[in-house]
Amino acid sequence: MNNGGEPKGEARGKALPLDDVGRLVELLAESGVGEIRVRQGELEITVKAKLEAAPVVAPSPVAVPAEPRVHLPEVVVPEASVLETQAEAPSTNGLHAVRSPVVGTFYRAPAPGEGPYVEVGDTVRAGQTLCIVEAMKLMNEIPSDVSGEVVEILVQNSGGVEYDQPLFHIRPEA
């Protein structure tokens, strides 16, 4: 059933310029162009790229193969984390997200009864503590990694946070 891949089209008379086609295909794949057509006298070769639907947006850091062979359409999984990931996309509005480097409990103030580190509207500097995330009784002070204005605080005081969860939206200084 498999055709063994052996070329066996000998007795055909004038052989097809398959090596040329192969090179064109390679060229197409490497170049990323949409179509290549060659005509020379009687001979004409056309090589076209596959039409993609919309580009697939891969949120994960895993490399997407150059030629994805299985195309599943992009459907938003209705789960909080995914929605958050989209919400904090720095894309259009130029906001920067400060994310939690640890799993734990989010506190806005250094200790109960004290005032919060920052409020919406405050201007902060890179390195300035924004909050605490407590994990196993360890108080991790979370610094801002940019200077700018605190636009949004994304987690409620004493709420749980995951690794890499956005905590603050900061509009970086121009």
Binding site: P61, V70, S81, T105, A135, E162
Partner: protein
């Protein structure tokens, strides 16, 4: 019964625990690394929490992150699966300190059995035969030579904290001891942070046979039909079966009794496995794994028991649902489908699974976290799926295995599927009772009849 269990693992074993939790009405919490955001264990658990980056040291081995996640989600127990933190005594201790039930034995038991020298002593104390060798660690090459003079050569030098063949050396005569001692100790120190080694008689033509045990906190114990795990590659098991083919009844009984005796002596609880080598009609204790094994499903098949459910029952303080020597019904075989290309030196394979259609039908079980489109990442181990077949007789199980492997459609990555088909065609293997060197130097290639056909399905017009 427990209320909520955090599963401190990933891949197929995380799924296995999540499934057991769901069947027992226990809520499950999956933890996952950023590389596992699209993994089935995250999707199938009742809750999920991201605990760190892709590299295991920051996520699945990150004790503070896992404990913190358990506290945040109010989990009353943590199931460690196998690998990662499953035999980390400190992790178990921290769980105990944080009032989170560790699904496994006490931390002291883990520590005791985690050190090969103390485990050997404990076994000997329970009347379990151990390989002739040193009583404790050998602190010098001279001590190794003393053992050699006593038990004879060849001798095996092994890391006390060892596993997976690291820090291991075979010594054929006294003249080789100095160099072997030095290199084994150095390797052990590098691999385990503990350079101590011990020496024992090196056995050849051996089979790896192990006994699954269960015990609850009330002292009820159960020993299951033995598993034969002799088909290995570089100390990594590839195929396991139960019962062990062609083993004399006396050896079978002896191992089960020895395992039960060790469990009782230790005051063990939870699931565990006592591993033996079987050589020349005798069996000797190697080590005890104080956790669930990858190959536990072969025992589940022949003993009609749900080992993970039993673990959770024990951790809940409930009693075992089985006890004593549990009889075998039929024969079961597990095939580990790894993302490794057996034709190119078992080169690890990564990337997306393109087409995935596991086999079905009678007597076939598949435990896997795969789906079409899932990306196999380079960060974690290469196990993609376990295929377990069960039939009334070994011969029927072999044929069922070939049938199921043959229709296991998995494209996008090279796997050990063709190797397993070749093993099933090997005459020595079919006869049963091969030694652990079975795969060495053997040209095992095979494609099966259906594999290429089904791969083609994955590429046919949708």
């Amino acid at each position: 019964m427990l209320n909520k269990v955090l599963v401190a693992n990933r891949g197929e074993i995380a799924l296995r625990v999540i499934r057991a939790c769901r069947e027992l009405g226990i809520r499950s919490v999956a933890v996952y690394s950023t590389a596992d955001a699209d993994s089935l264990h995250r999707l199938l658990a009742d809750e999920a929490i991201c605990i760190g980056p892709a590299h295991p040291s920051g996520s699945y081995l990150n004790i503070p992150a896992i404990i913190s996640a358990a506290e945040l989600r109010g989990a009353d127990a943590i199931h460690p699966g196998y690998g990662f933190l499953a035999e980390n005594a400190r992790f178990a201790e921290i769980c105990e300190a944080c009032n989170i039930k560790f699904v496994g034995p006490r931390s002291e038991t883990i520590a005791l059995m985690g050190d090969k020298v103390s485990a050997r002593r404990a076994a000997a104390a329970a009347g379990v035969p151990v390989t002739p060798g040193s009583d404790g660690p050998c602190r010098s090459a001279a001590e190794v030579k003393r053992v050699g003079a006593e038990v004879g050569y060849p001798l095996l030098i092994k890391a006390s904290a060892g596993g997976g063949g690291k820090g291991m050396r075979v010594v054929h005569s006294e003249g080789e001891v100095d160099a072997a001692y030095a290199s084994a100790s150095r390797e052990a120190g590098a691999a385990f942070g503990d350079g101590s080694v011990y020496a024992e008689r090196y056995l050849e033509k051996l089979r790896h046979v192990e006994v699954q045990v269960l015990a609850d906190e009330r002292g009820v114990t159960a020993a299951f039909p033995e598993r034969d795990c002799s088909v290995q590659r570089r100390y990594q098991k590839l195929l396991e079966e139960s019962p062990a083919p062609g083993l004399p009844e006396g050896a079978r009984e002896g191992m089960k009794k020895a395992a039960a005796s060790l469990v009782e002596t230790l005051g063990y609880w939870g699931a565990g496995t006592v591993e033996f080598v079987y050589s020349g009609g005798e069996f000797y204790f190697i080590e005890m794994n104080t956790r669930l094994q990858v190959e536990h499903p072969v025992t589940e098949a022949v003993a009609s028991v749900d080992l993970v459910a039993e673990q959770l029952r024990v951790a809940s303080g409930e009693g075992l649902s089985v006890k004593g020597e549990v009889p075998a019904r039929g024969h079961a075989i597990e095939f580990r489908i790894n993302a490794e290309d057996p034709r190119r030196g078992f080169l690890p394979q990564t990337g997306p699974v393109e087409f995935y259609n596991p086999p079905g039908g009678p007597g076939v079980r598949v435990d896997s976290h795969l789906y079409a489109g899932y990306k196999v990442s380079p960060y974690y181990d290469s196990l993609l799926a376990k295929l377990i077949v069960h039939a009334e007789m070994r011969e029927a199980a072999l044929r069922r295995g070939a049938r199921a492997l043959d229709e296991f459609a998995l494209t996008g990555l090279d796997t050990t599927l063709p190797l397993h088909l070749a093993i099933l065609e090997d005459e020595d293997f079919r006869r049963g009772g091969v030694f652990t060197d079975f795969l060495e130097g053997r040209e095992l290639t095979g494609d099966g009849a259906g594999l290429p056909r089904l791969a083609a399905v994955g590429r046919s017009p949708a």
